[in-house]
């Protein structure tokens, strides 16, 4: 398993601003993932972040809106840019510790935009 620390745990932001969410893992992992969970809904994958390469974005998500960094095997950031109320959601970091094994999740960042 892995211990995943996500910061901040929650934030309230103004429309038009940007927020960077950090994800720190206690072991080296190849694959890290960023998900969005809108109120009362399931998880939607935003992108897969692999160290040494650009993130791979899912349909409906673009790098300009959700830039991702992956500087090493234990850390990643997701930025939510130019936020609007529609971006209010829970953002979850996830890792795959071993190929084929289930993903492990951080506690999430609960984001509200006014």
């Amino acid at each position: 398993s892995a211990v995943i620390s996500q910061k901040p745990s929650r934030d309230i932001c103004q429309r038009g601003t940007s927020l960077t969410i950090q994800c720190q893992v206690d072991s080296q992992v190849t694959m890290m993932f960023w998900y969005r969970q809108q109120p009362g809904q399931s998880l939607t994958l935003i992108a897969t972040a692999n160290q040494g390469s650009e993130a791979t974005y899912e349909s409906g998500f673009v790098i300009d809106k959700f830039p991702i960094s992956r500087p090493n095997l234990t850390f990643s950031t997701l930025t939510v840019s130019n936020m609007s109320p529609e971006d209010s959601s829970i953002y979850l970091c996830s890792v795959e510790v071993q190929e084929g094994q289930p993903q492990h999740f951080g506690d999430g960042t609960r984001l509200s935009i006014l």
Partner: protein, 114 residues
Amino acid sequence: AQSVTQLDSQVPVFEEAPVELRCNYSSSVSVYLFWYVQYPNQGLQLLLKYLSGSTLVESINGFEAEFNKSQTSFHLRKPSVHISDTAEYFCAVKQSGGSYIPTFGRGTSLIVHP
């Protein structure tokens, strides 16, 4: 591609009663199956997994799930629930044998009443 259907969005039950949360999936390839639990204001925690072998898998807190290939189901059961089991439960499926992205169901909210 895979899909997951959690038939019940909400399941209310009294404490110490049995419960079953239903999960059906569709896939043209071999799959791994998972149940995750999300307590309020937390991320997702892996509850149990089916990778291979025995079709009946158990968690440390009394939940069990049975992989039924013919019915493409992976229902979650517990013979006697506690108040502390109140949470959101997500079924997930992913292609076996490699680092594939899982598909999550919409979630079932288990509400245990005293």
